[in-house]
């Protein structure tokens, strides 16, 4: 059984590599039971989205409406 701490590491690594089948299964099981880790995962996904958004803002052309 994964601990929350271990789950956070897997969720972070999940942004960098494809998790193995066993890892995915363990994580899914853990997330089904733990809302804290479900929130953690959404926050990790949001960080990725925010980074993409940040890049987009920096690269955006000035003539486009801001935001």
């Amino acid at each position: 059984m994964l601990s929350c701490k271990e789950a956070t590491h897997l969720m972070s690594e999940g942004l960098d590599r494809k998790l193995g089948t066993g890892e995915q299964l363990q994580l899914r099981l853990h997330l089904a039971m733990c809302s804290g880790c479900r929130n953690f995962r959404e926050q990790m996904d949001f960080l990725r989205t925010a980074c993409r958004g940040f890049l987009g803002r920096v690269e955006a052309d000035e003539e486009q409406p801001p935001k």
Partner: protein
């Protein structure tokens, strides 16, 4: 020379400001960032390429700047140990550990909360200020690895090999960065709501 009609003082000022912000975040050295931006602009404007418009030109300058930043980081990684655990890093790790009970499950008060629809924040310019502040709060080496992954869009394996650190080290550093950023955004932007479960 690209279309001179595309280039006027306002455009160059705006582009410089954006590029400088980007370079400064990653390099954390004003002089180095200034040089990198200057070189990127010079390289972009001296080429014979034609651009469909300012957006295309800006994308081009930006890609040149990215390469320059990568080169600088590569050089720095030869003289600094990116994976060395400084006081800042150790502090972040300790702070992370305090979120958990003895059995490595969340302490009730430290359990990650529901951020609702965080995407809405992306439309607010105040959020981006906070985001930048949080990035700047990350320890230097931690931030470097994170930004290489997320802003220079390297695969993790490439980040590790470029910076000569092991994959597991890379994973530890990225996890530290993400959690640090998450915690900073949580306290500075997403007002702590009631904790579920």
């Amino acid at each position: 020379m690209p279309d001179t009609a595309l280039i006027d003082a306002d455009f160059v000022t705006a582009i410089r400001r954006d590029l400088l912000k980007f370079a400064q975040l990653q390099l954390r050295d004003a002089a180095l960032a200034e040089d990198a931006v200057q070189e990127a602009l010079a390289a972009a404007f001296s080429g014979a390429r034609q651009f469909a418009g300012r957006a295309a030109l800006k994308t081009w300058v930006f890609s040149i700047l990215r390469h320059k930043i990568v080169d600088l980081i590569r050089q720095q990684s030869r003289t600094t140990n990116i994976s060395a655990l400084g006081d800042d890093e150790a502090g972040l790790d300790e702070a992370f550990d305090t979120l958990f009970k003895q059995n490595a499950h969340w302490r009730p008060e430290a359990r990650p909360g529901d951020w609702g629809n965080p995407e809405e924040a992306l439309r607010e310019s105040r959020f981006w200020e906070v985001f930048e502040i949080c990035l700047n709060h990350l320890p230097e080496n931690t931030a470097r690895v994170f930004m290489m992954r997320e802003f220079l869009e390297f695969e993790t394996a490439e980040v590790c090999s470029e910076l000569a650190i092991s994959v597991s080290n890379c994973n530890v550093i990225l996890h530290r960065a993400r959690n640090g950023l998450r915690r900073c955004l949580e306290t500075s932007w997403f007002a702590p709501e009631e904790k579920p479960c």
